[in-house]
Assembly symmetry: C2
Homo-oligomer: 162 residues x 2
C-alpha cells in the first residue's frame, strides 16, 4: 500500500495503556486497529523487499497498465517528486518499466515479469492478513465492516476536499 503516516498509539506493555476519554473514541479505535494491522503488513512486506506504498503502487500500475506517473501519484496521494522516487525504487528492482507514453512528455508504466511475481507474493500476504481479520468476524460482520469503512472514508474524504 502507498504510504502516508499511520500515527501510532500505545500497545506494548508494560504501560498503563490508558488515554482517558480519548481512548473510547471511534476514530482512536480505528487508528489503533489500522496501526496494528499496518505493522503486520509492513513486517511481512519487508520480507519480500516491499514497503506498503510500493506494493500499492505495484497494484495500481498492474490494474492500470500504461498509466503515467502523475496519475499514479494522484492515486497514491503523493506528489510528482515523491512518485518519481517511488517509481525509481520499483524500476531499480526491475518490477516496473517506463516506456514511452501517449505523448513525448509522459511515461507509460508497466509491471514486468519480475513485478508480476512480486505482486503475487504481495497478494498472498494481503490475503493472509485479511484472513486474520475476518477470522474474528462472521461474514455478515465482515460485509458490514466493509460498508462502514467505506462510509468513514467517504465522509472524511469529503471533509478533506473542502
Amino acid at each position: 500500500m502507498p504510504s502516508a503516516s499511520v500515527t501510532r498509539i500505545g500497545v506494548t506493555p508494560p504501560h498503563r495503556n490508558d488515554f482517558g476519554v480519548i481512548g473510547s473514541r471511534l476514530g482512536f479505535l480505528l487508528h489503533l486497529a489500522d496501526v496494528a494491522h499496518m505493522r503486520v503488513i509492513q513486517d511481512m512486506l519487508g520480507e519480500i523487499g516491499l514497503t506498503a506504498t510500493r506494493a500499492t503502487a505495484l497494484a495500481y500500475i498492474r490494474a492500470n497498465p500504461g498509466c503515467g506517473q502523475t496519475e499514479l501519484g494522484r492515486a497514491l496521494e503523493i506528489n510528482r517528486a515523491s512518485t518519481m522516487e517511488m517509481v525509481n525504487a520499483l524500476a531499480l528492482v526491475g518490477a516496473v518499466e517506463r516506456r514511452s507514453g501517449r505523448d513525448k512528455r509522459s511515461n507509460a508504466l508497466f509491471v514486468t515479469a519480475v513485478g508480476e511475481a512480486l505482486f503475487n507474493q504481495f497478494d498472498e500476504i494481503s490475503i493472509k492478513v485479511d484472513e486474520g481479520i475476518t477470522a474474528t468476524l462472521t461474514s455478515d460482520e465482515a460485509q458490514l465492516l466493509a460498508r462502514l469503512l467505506c462510509n468513514i472514508r467517504g465522509t472524511a474524504a469529503r471533509h478533506n476536499s473542502i
Copy 2:
C-alpha cells in the same frame, strides 16, 4: 495521537482509482478509512499546533500523571530517544512539565495549565471528528464497529508480539 505511519492510498481524482483485487480487501479498506480520517485529524490539530502523536502523548500524561518517559514511550510505541524529543516539544510550548520522579534516574511528567487548555482543544476536535464518523452510522452500528476494531487490533497485536 502518537504517530506511526499511516500508509497512503489513492483518493483524489482524476485517476482511475483501481487497485485491482487488493482494492476489496478489508485491510485495505481499513487503511483507506484511517488515512482519510487521520488527514482530517492532523489538519485540525495543526490549527492548534499539535501533531497526532503529541496530542496522544498529552492525553496519556494527563490520564497518567507522574508517568515516566520510558512508560510514555512504551504507550506510544516509540523508543526512548523519540520520546525524548516529543516530550521536549510539549515542554517547549509549556504543555508538559518534567518533575523529579520516584528515583533519581526518572522524570515524572505532568500536564500544566497550558497543557490542560490545549488538551481541551484537542478533545473538542476529537469529539467533532467522531461525530462525523458516527453521523453515518446507527448507534448499533457504532457499537459493533467499536467491537470489531478492537478485535482487529487485538488479533494484529498478538501477531506483532510473537
